[in-house]
């Protein structure tokens, strides 16, 4: 093995890749832009949709209640609802989103309020539909307020204070520091994004440097030189790894800047802490360190797979399923309720996903970190050895 030759090959591949728009896009542009677009774009859109839905005065329908006129007129006068005339097809109207919700007032409701023994009110909505949910929520609020007023009136009539019905309050407060809260909220998402870009960043260079070279006819030119096959693989592999790590670094910086910008945009807002959680920078650095062995694993694997292909298109066909296969453990890792243990610490990709989530929450399991680093390095070394072995096989390199 010659470090000089590996360096020469890496330097050439680096220069070559810097001139390739597709590599630059996959390793630098996409990872930098996708996070802010997702967080700002989708976040802004979602908040606008919710805000519009909240502002809308929902159309509701009152079913029954002929003997409860004051409740009905109170609903109309509140200004919180457009009360439609009752119709027999009210269920269809809710399903067709023409009416957001319905309230069924049973006979004798108003009379029952006087004695404190009113029959139950029924609310009907389109389950899972945002505007219907808001409408039914407002109806619940209205009837809760009516219940509280009725309770207070009945207690006052008996000479009792309103506090009898609510003798104490329950208060809740967060004691975790903002970084830990943020890590817990965003840890899974950040781990997912970083691991995803770890693969995406390696994908295009791996295809271009293996299958692409074969397709363009430069592989044979390179194989004619005295460089050892192992040196060629290592030089090329380092470039694939560079693509992967560049994508990870860009996505990390982009995520950090996006959170800072979102924080500045919402500065002074009471909702700041809940909307823009901060992430521990030390946790971010730890994640970057943990991602290196997994980036080696992905780079070596994708390079090996790409070696089998005769050209770009064939390589993409082979590499795309790997992306989907890798996403499964990443997604499993961010599911709530799955905790890191010794067995899971040996499962590639899933182990990194789980430990990164923990590190971003400020929890450092040093024993698991050591097991994960060690096992991932073993997998990565095996993948790299496989890449070298495949590169030496004539039926792989000269496959026709």
């Amino acid at each position: 093995m010659s470090l000089g030759t590996i360096g020469t090959i890496y330097a050439k591949e680096f220069r070559d890749s810097l001139r390739d728009r597709r590599t630059l896009f996959s390793a630098l542009v996409a990872p930098t832009l996708i996070i802010p677009v997702m967080m700002f774009g989708i976040g802004t859109l979602a908040s606008r949709v919710v805000s519009q839905a909240t502002k809308e005065v929902p159309r509701i329908m009152v079913i029954g209640g002929a003997d409860s006129p004051s409740v009905r007129s109170d609903l109309e006068k509140s200004g919180r609802f457009h009360v439609e005339s009752a119709s027999a097809d009210w269920k269809t109207l809710i399903s067709d989103k023409k009416v957001r919700a319905a309230v069924e007032i049973p006979p004798g409701f108003e009379k029952g309020l006087e004695s404190g023994l009113a029959p139950s009110i029924s609310l009907y909505d389109f389950d899972g539909e945002l505007k219907s949910g808001i409408a039914v929520g407002q109806l619940k609020n209205y009837f809760n307020e009516l219940r509280e007023r009725t309770t207070a009136r009945l207690l006052a009539a008996r000479g009792l204070p309103a506090s009898v019905a609510r003798p104490f309050e329950v208060l809740q407060a967060n004691v975790a520091p903002p970084a830990k809260t943020g890590g817990n909220l965003l840890g899974g998402l950040v781990s997912y994004v970083i691991l995803l870009f770890c693969i995406i960043g390696a994908m295009y260079p791996a295809i271009d440097l293996a299958a692409g070279e074969k397709e363009r006819g430069t592989m044979e030119t390179l194989l004619c030189c005295p460089a050892a096959r192992t040196d060629i693989v290592l030089g090329k592999f380092l470039m694939v790894l560079t693509g992967s790590m560049a994508a990870v670094a860009c996505s990390l910086v982009s995520t950090g800047l996006t959170l800072v910008l979102m924080g500045l945009a919402l500065a002074g807002s009471a909702k700041k802490v809940s909307l823009v959680p901060t992430i521990d920078p030390l946790g971010m650095l730890g994640v970057l360190g943990m991602v290196i062995p997994v980036a080696i694993l992905f780079s070596a694997l994708l390079f090996t797979i790409s070696l089998f292909a005769k050209g770009h298109k064939e390589a993409q066909t082979y590499v795309t399923p790997v992306l989907f296969l890798a996403i499964i453990p990443i997604v499993v890792g961010i599911l709530p309720g799955i905790d890191l243990n010794l067995t899971l610490a040996l499962v590639p990709i899933l182990n990194i996903s789980l430990v990164c989530k923990e590190m971003l929450s400020g929890v450092w399991h040093w024993n698991y970190i050591a097991v994960i680093l060690g096992s991932t390095m073993v997998y990565a070394s095996a993948a790299l050895a496989l890449a070298v072995r495949m590169f030496k096989r004539e039926d792989v390199i000269f496959r026709t």
């Binding site: 030759t5 050439k12 363009r216 430069t218 044979e220 030119t221 004619c224 030189c225 005295p226 004539e394």
Partner: protein
């Protein structure tokens, strides 16, 4: 010098079974001579040349190139070989200078010697005008010159050409033929595969006719004509191949 002894390459094919790309081929090429390997498509020319350039490993037999065994000392063989084929393309995103420099460094030329060598080759091949232009912007002729410079950068003793004029226009093909002659005149050991009879007639000191992976006949142009009784190389080639097929 190139010397092979019963050189054989067997490929395993799932559908066709065992395929003998090159079968017990023995030949010798001396310095200052051009050996023409003449054969139809699929005759075994590329497989043979790829074994000599150490791109493929022989299944059996032996080959010594520039004093080194192709199996035991592949790196040393490649350090003494220049290989040019239609399949040896250029890196499109590198300039001609970067391309040549890259291969000079891979051949471990010291930087001052590399710069001198590039200047010398650019003078000889008249490349100064396009030396800093990207390879994907070069004309076919310029690409050929760059490939030749890439092949010559480490001043190899042995030159292997695998159908280098395939797909080239007349002028570019003539330039290649002239270059191959220069190599011989400089005392290089040259092996040149082709299926173009006129090229073999013009260039080669010795012609080996390869068919079905085996060397069917070998000799000078005059010897082959005398052996077959034909005045034309193409007729001689067809006669030899037909005779072997009948056997």
């Amino acid at each position: 010098m190139i010397q092979t002894h019963l050189l054989t390459k067997v490929f395993q094919d799932r559908k066709k079974g065992e395929i003998r790309g090159t079968d017990s081929l023995s030949l010798r090429v001396d310095p200052g001579r051009i050996y023409g390997l003449l054969g139809a498509n699929g005759a075994g020319k590329t497989t043979t040349l790829r074994m000599l350039a150490t791109l493929l490993k022989p299944t059996s037999g032996s080959a010594v190139v520039a004093g080194h065994d192709v199996v035991r000392e592949p790196d040393q063989v490649r350090a003494q070989v220049g290989f040019l084929a239609t399949s040896t393309a250029l890196y499109a995103r590198l300039t001609a200078r970067e391309m040549i420099t890259y291969f000079g460094r891979l051949n471990r030329l010291p930087e001052p010697a590399l710069r001198t060598r590039i200047r010398l080759l650019a003078d000889e091949l008249d490349m100064h005008e396009f030396l800093d232009r990207r390879c994907d912007k070069l004309s076919t002729g310029m690409k050929q010159k760059t490939s030749i410079a890439r092949m010559l950068i480490h001043d190899p003793q042995v030159m292997i050409f695998d159908e280098p004029t395939l797909g080239l226009d007349v002028m570019a093909a003539r330039a290649i033929v002239a270059f191959v002659r220069q190599c011989r005149d400089r005392g290089k050991t040259v092996i040149y595969s082709t299926h173009v009879m006129s090229e073999a007639e013009k260039l080669c000191d010795v012609i080996g006719i390869i068919h079905g992976g085996k060397l069917r006949a070998e000799g000078t142009l005059a010897e082959l004509r005398a052996r077959t009784g034909e005045a034309d190389l193409e007729d001689s080639f067809v006669k030899i191949v037909s005779m072997e097929d009948e056997k």
